[in-house]
C-alpha cells in the first residue's frame, strides 16, 4: 500500500479513487456541479492508457457505460441530479443484465433543472429505485473528500463482487470542497471471474452469449435469484459511522455532507452538557437498519437532519419501529431562501436544545 497526501476536491478525489481501482474508461456529459470530474479524467486517463468520451447526453453516457462494462472492464460515468434522471432507463438496463457499473451523482438541488448548488434531494430517487423494474443499486454516501476517494474504490469492488450497479451519492458541497486526503490503493479480496463478459473472441465457438435487456429471464426464477443476491448484500455490506452513541440521550441521524454539519452541532451540544450522538449511514442501500436500532436503544429522542424535505426520515422510522420519538430538521431551515442557501450547525443546535429542554 502506497500512501501520498494531497489537497484536492471531492470531485477530483472520485477521479483518483477510480483510477486507483483500475478504472480506465469514463464517459459523461457536462453538468454542474460535477464538471471537475470529466476534466480530471480527460487529463488523467490518457496517461494510464484509458479512454475518455464526452457524450451527447446522459442517456448516451449510461448506455455507453453499459456497452463498455459488458466487455468485463471497469468503467464509470458521473453526473448531477437532472442527468441522473435521464440515466434511469439505462440504469434499469444495467440491472437487467446484471452488469457491474459505477455511477456517481453529485447532487444539486430541487426538481426540474433545479439549482446548481448543493442539496440532498435525490435520496429517494437513488435509494428506492434504479429506474423501472424494482431493482436496487448499492448506494454509498461519502461525507468527506477522503471518503469520495475511498468509497469510489469500494464501489468498483462491490460492483464486481455482486455484478451490480453501485451509485456514489455525493453532493455539490463535498464535490467542490478541498481537503487534505491520503491517496491509497486498497487491496480487496478477489472478485468472481467475468465469464459472462462479451470479448468478441474467436476462441469461443458455437452458440455464444447474448446479453439481453429484453426478457432474458423468467420471473419466477429471476426475481428470487435477485432477492438471494440482495439478501447477501443486506447481511454483509452494511456500513455506517457512529460517534458518542454509547451514552447518547439524543441521537442525531444524518448522512453525507449534512452529517458533518450535524456533528458540529453535536460538539456544541456536548459542550453544553447535552448527551448527543451521531449515527451516519454510509451505505444508504443496504440501509443499516439493525445498527441504527441498536444505536437508538438508550436514546430518549431522535433527530433526523437532512438537506431535503425529509426522505431518509421514512427509512429511519421504518428502522426504529417507534422505539423513540423522531423529529426532523431539513431544507426549510437553511440560512437563505434561494438555491444557494445552506444548512448551518446553528439551527441544528437550537433544535437539539429545544428537544432536550
Amino acid at each position: 500500500m502506497s500512501a501520498q497526501k494531497i489537497l484536492c476536491t471531492g470531485n477530483d478525489a472520485i477521479g483518483h479513487g477510480a483510477i486507483a481501482a483500475g478504472c480506465r474508461f469514463f464517459c459523461g456529459y457536462p453538468i454542474t456541479p460535477q464538471n471537475e470530474i470529466p476534466a480530471f479524467f480527460a487529463a488523467e486517463l490518457p496517461k494510464v492508457g484509458g479512454i475518455f468520451v464526452q457524450t451527447e447526453s446522459e442517456i448516451s453516457s449510461i448506455n455507453m457505460l453499459l456497452g463498455y462494462v459488458a466487455a468485463g472492464l471497469r468503467g464509470i460515468t458521473t453526473t448531477s441530479s437532472p442527468g441522473f434522471s435521464l440515466m434511469q432507463e439505462g440504469i434499469s438496463g444495467i440491472h437487467a443484465m446484471q452488469l457491474p457499473a459505477v455511477v456517481v451523482n453529485v447532487q444539486r438541488g430541487g426538481p426540474g433543472s433545479g439549482s446548481i448548488a448543493t442539496a440532498q434531494t435525490d435520496y429517494n430517487f437513488a435509494v428506492k429505485s434504479a429506474g423501472h423494474g424494482g431493482m436496487k443499486s448499492i448506494v454509498l454516501a461519502p461525507a468527506s473528500v477522503q471518503e469520495c476517494h475511498d468509497l469510489t474504490q469500494l464501489a468498483f469492488h462491490l460492483a464486481d463482487k455482486y455484478r451490480i450497479l453501485v451509485v456514489v451519492l455525493s453532493d455539490a458541497i463535498i464535490g467542490q470542497s478541498a481537503e487534505l486526503i491520503e491517496l491509497k490503493t486498497f487491496e480487496f479480496p478477489e472478485t468472481p471471474k467475468k465469464t459472462w463478459a462479451i470479448r468478441g473472441s474467436a476462441e469461443k465457438k458455437g452458440i455464444r452469449l447474448v446479453l439481453d435487456s429484453f426478457m432474458p429471464f423468467n420471473y419466477t426464477s429471476y426475481f428470487p435469484m435477485i432477492k438471494k443476491k440482495t439478501d447477501v448484500i443486506e447481511a454483509g455490506e452494511v456500513r455506517f459511522e457512529q460517534r458518542h452513541v454509547e451514552d447518547a440521550e439524543l441521537l442525531v441521524i444524518s448522512w453525507g455532507s449534512t452529517a458533518r454539519i450535524a456533528m458540529e452541532a453535536i460538539n456544541g451540544a456536548r459542550a453544553e452538557g447535552i448527551k448527543a450522538g451521531l449515527f451516519r449511514p454510509i451505505t444508504l442501500y443496504p440501509f443499516p437498519r439493525q445498527a441504527m436500532r441498536d444505536a437508538a436503544k438508550n436514546a430518549k429522542k431522535v433527530l433526523v437532519v437532512e438537506d431535503n424535505q425529509g426522505q431518509m426520515l421514512y427509512d429511519v422510522e421504518w428502522a426504529l419501529c417507534g422505539c423513540a420519538p423522531i423529529s426532523f430538521l431539513g431544507i426549510d431551515k437553511r440560512d437563505q431562501a434561494g438555491g444557494m442557501g445552506l444548512l448551518y450547525p446553528k439551527p441544528v443546535l437550537e433544535e437539539m436544545r429545544r428537544l432536550m429542554s
Partner: protein, 253 residues
Amino acid sequence: MSAKKLKYGNPTLFNTMMQPHFCPGCHYGSIVRALAEALEETGVVGDTVLVTGIGCSMVSAHYIKNLEGLVALHGRAPAVATGLKRALGKDKLVITMQGDGDLSAIGMGEIIAAVNRFEKLTTIFLNNANFGTTGGQAAPTSLAGQVTPTTPQGKDVETWGFPIHMAELLTNFKSVVYSFRGAMNTHKNYNRTKKALVTAIEKQKANMGYSFVEILSACPPGHHVKAQDSLKLVEKLIEEFPLGEFKNTGRPV
C-alpha cells in the same frame, strides 16, 4: 439465371437450432441470412459482436453461430456499440442492427452522435416504414398517405412531415465512409445488399470510419396486408427511397 448458380440450404454460420420467429413474408430472416453470409465471406465471425435494438431485429444475434450479441435498450445501440468497440479495440468488429423506429425515431440522437464522433462501427438499418413490433404505427420513414394505426386517414405530411432518408442524410458526415440502401424483394437486390454488407464490414475491418447499410423490408402484419401486397409496398418504398450506393470513400483523415 442458370439453376446451378442458385444456392440452397443455410449458410454454415446459420444457427438452425433457433426456431424462426419472424412472421411469414417478413424480410428480416433474409437479412440475417445475408449478414451471416457476409460475416463468413469477410472472415470476421468470431471477432464480431452484434448489438441489436428493440424491435423485431432484437433476436438476430441468436441466429448466427460464433457471434456474440447484446440487445440494447430502445434506440441506444450506437451508444452501447461505442462502449463495446472502445473496450474491445479495433481488431474486433461491432455491428448494430436497428429498425426504423429504433434508429430514426427514438434513437436519432445516438446514431448521429456516434457517426459524428467518428466511431468505427457498422450499422444495419432495417427500414420497413412502420413500427412492426408494436402493431404497425407510423414511423418517421412511413410514406406520405400510408395508412397505419396512428394515421388511420393516411399519413398527412402537413403534421407528420416527410419520410426520413437516413442513408442520404448520413453521407453529409465526414466520418461516414460508406452508405448504401438495398432491399430484399428480388434475388438481384438480395445479392447487391449482401455485397454492400461485405463492403461495410470491410470498411470497419480497415478501421476507416462509419459504414451504414439501410435495407428496405416487407412487413405484412405491420402493414396489415397479405405478404404479396407487402411486397408491393416495398416497391413503393423503393420509389421514395432510391436504392444504391450513396457514399464510398477512404479514410477521411
